[in-house]
């Protein structure tokens, strides 16, 4: 799978074989083989990840960075290997800049809190977008409140794309940080973060990118992007829950105060004064989620082995197919029609409520997400209570889409 000999025509990746790596996809839901279309909320795990974590607990577990004995060294090695894998996965320049956090939410909270305490003053501005997840809104509201700063919002158009002319106007000398998602969880829009970063940097403003929905679907190179902070969740990229990554440029991480206090993050402690450990440990107080890191490492290696190119191609085909098939149903309205989209389809069925559609799909063994997707301001922007959202991963196939389309048709017959 990994070696592409230039003399042979690259074989089409066998995604059916890949699907078989995911034990959960073999179960039933409500008496029907499950169609899992909620990977945007959390993805399923391949056996390789499950095995790696079991193996760690069965053979390698001890606390890290502490014991002088061999086992503790092995655990530390397994843990730090996970960091190196993550570093390579996003092409971070140094391991010091790759912090383990619980997930995207904690990554953003860390930056909002620590960067906020150091750099946000009264009258300053934080710039986010109208399509942010609550976890990229609320931490900034809290930081702004603390500092007396103001939250500004880049608007979107009806297709669900950022209005970049407005961004240009909103970005100014009062802006202290821009925080946007790479891919919208509710709409699937891929945002032009390259342009955002370039323009922000032109006036010395750092950018945080919420990568929760991009990392599972596309290649991310933090150096090529020149992004200041990039954060994502392990559980959305086929790894375990409770672990995620915050990449941050060393210059910022060094300048920021620690987030949590405790063990691991200190150099010396006296009751009068504590000096802090070096990066990345300065931001990793307490015993970390070692098994989670091992699992995340296995997940990222798994994705890398398939290859981003093959994944993107497969998902793009599925997205096109799903969009086309759903659109054939009369009364379907797709929310989020950006030119640049990742494999998320949010839709409404005229005259029905998302909850009703989701309930009937559930009975048919189809798992979709319904509701506001933790993006209430975005739903308000569209004047809708929520949507039905199908979010795809590389383990989905056209049969899943066919079952979804059939299910929506059935829901329509029952509800209208």
């Amino acid at each position: 799978m990994t070696i592409n000999n230039i003399n042979t025509i690259p074989k089409k990746t066998d995604f059916e074989k890949i699907r078989a790596d995911f034990p959960l996809l073999q179960r039933d839901m409500n008496g029907k083989p499950i169609v899992f279309l909620d990977s945007g909320a959390s993805s399923q795990k391949p056996q390789q990840v499950i095995d790696a974590m079991n193996d760690y607990y069965a053979h390698q577990h001890a606390n890290v960075h502490r014991g002088v004995y061999q086992l503790s060294q092995e655990a530390t090695d397994a843990f730090e290997k996970g960091r190196r894998i993550a570093q390579q996965f996003i092409n971070a320049p140094s391991e010091k800049e790759v912090l383990f956090v619980r997930g995207t939410t904690e990554g953003i909270n860390l930056v909002a809190s620590s960067y906020g305490r150091k750099f946000l003053k009264e009258g300053d501005e934080v710039l986010i977008s109208a399509m942010e997840h609550h976890s990229n809104i609320v931490p900034w509201q809290m930081a702004c409140e603390q500092a007396g700063a103001n939250l500004k919002v880049i608007p979107i158009n009806d297709a669900g794309e950022l209005v970049m002319e407005e961004f240009d106007k909103l970005l100014n000398e009062k802006t202290k940080i821009v925080a946007v998602n790479h891919v919208s969880n509710a709409l699937g829009t891929i945002n032009p973060i390259e342009e955002i970063i370039e323009k922000a940097h032109a006036i010395g403003v750092p950018v945080l990118v919420d990568g929760a929905q991009s990392i599972p679907h596309m290649n991310v190179d933090v150096q090529a992007l020149d992004v200041d902070f990039y954060t994502f969740s392990g559980h959305k990229v086929f790894g375990p829950t409770g672990i995620g990554i915050l990449y941050g440029k060393e210059k910022w991480l060094n300048a920021m105060p620690p987030y949590h206090g405790g063990g691991e993050m200190i150099e010396t402690v006296t009751f009068e004064k504590t000096t802090y450990n070096e990066l990345p440990h300065k931001f990793e107080a307490g015993t970390p989620d070692i098994a989670g890191v091992v699992g995340l490492g296995a997940a990222l290696e798994y994705v890398q082995a398939i290859g981003h190119e093959a994944i993107q191609l497969h998902e793009h085909e599925l997205l096109e197919y799903a969009t086309q098939e759903l659109q054939q149903i009369e009364g379907i309205r797709i929310i989020g029609t950006a030119k640049n989209k990742a494999s998320v389809i949010s839709f409404l069925l005229d005259g029905t409520h998302p909850y009703d559609v989701g309930t009937i799909l559930d009975k048919l063994g189809i798992a979709v997400r319904t509701g506001h997707h933790c993006t209430q301001p975005l739903m308000n922007r569209f004047g809708i209570p929520g949507t039905v959202r199908a979010s795809l991963a590389f383990y989905n196939n056209t049969e899943d889409i066919d079952r979804l389309v059939e299910g929506v048709k059935r829901a329509k017959r029952m509800l209208l």
Partner: protein
């Protein structure tokens, strides 16, 4: 009829259905049939916000009994509301406060009254009982 007699009646009715499809079609029908609440009653203080769907609940007392009217923006939620109203509305406050709603489970709709669904129904039932408690403790 008492609360439990109505519950048993509903359970018996649902026994006729063969599968989930028929059950849901019936509930959807119930939901569609009646505008349960006057639109002017759909005010903020009568609104119970669920994460998924919303519920409006209005209570009026009459001789120690409570009459409920309610509504929802989702039709399945509304159908279940119709059943809840049928069971509880017009009953003595004390009975409402002490009621145990077993019929939901028995007719296979338990998941709609779980917090994870957060369609507003759990809060609605709580609110109905609160009215019952409030009124029965007055005398």
């Amino acid at each position: 009829m008492s609360i439990n007699e109505i519950q048993d009646e509903i359970i018996e009715e649902f026994d006729f259905f063969d599968d989930w499809m028929e059950r849901y079609e019936y509930i959807i029908d119930l939901g569609k049939k009646l505008p349960l609440i006057d639109d002017s009653m759909k005010t903020e203080e009568r609104l119970i916000k669920g994460c998924q769907s919303q519920v409006w609940l209005h209570a009026a007392q009459e001789d120690g009994k409570i009459n409920f009217t309610a509504d929802s923006d989702a039709v399945i939620t509304k159908g279940i509301i119709a059943l809840l109203v049928r069971v509880l509305s017009g009953q003595p406050a004390k009975e409402i406060a002490e009621s145990e709603l077993y019929f939901i489970d028995k007719i296979g709709l338990k998941e709609h009254l779980s917090l994870t669904r957060s369609n507003g129904l759990v809060s609605m039932v709580k609110q109905m009982k609160r009215y019952g408690i409030a009124l029965s403790s007055q005398d």
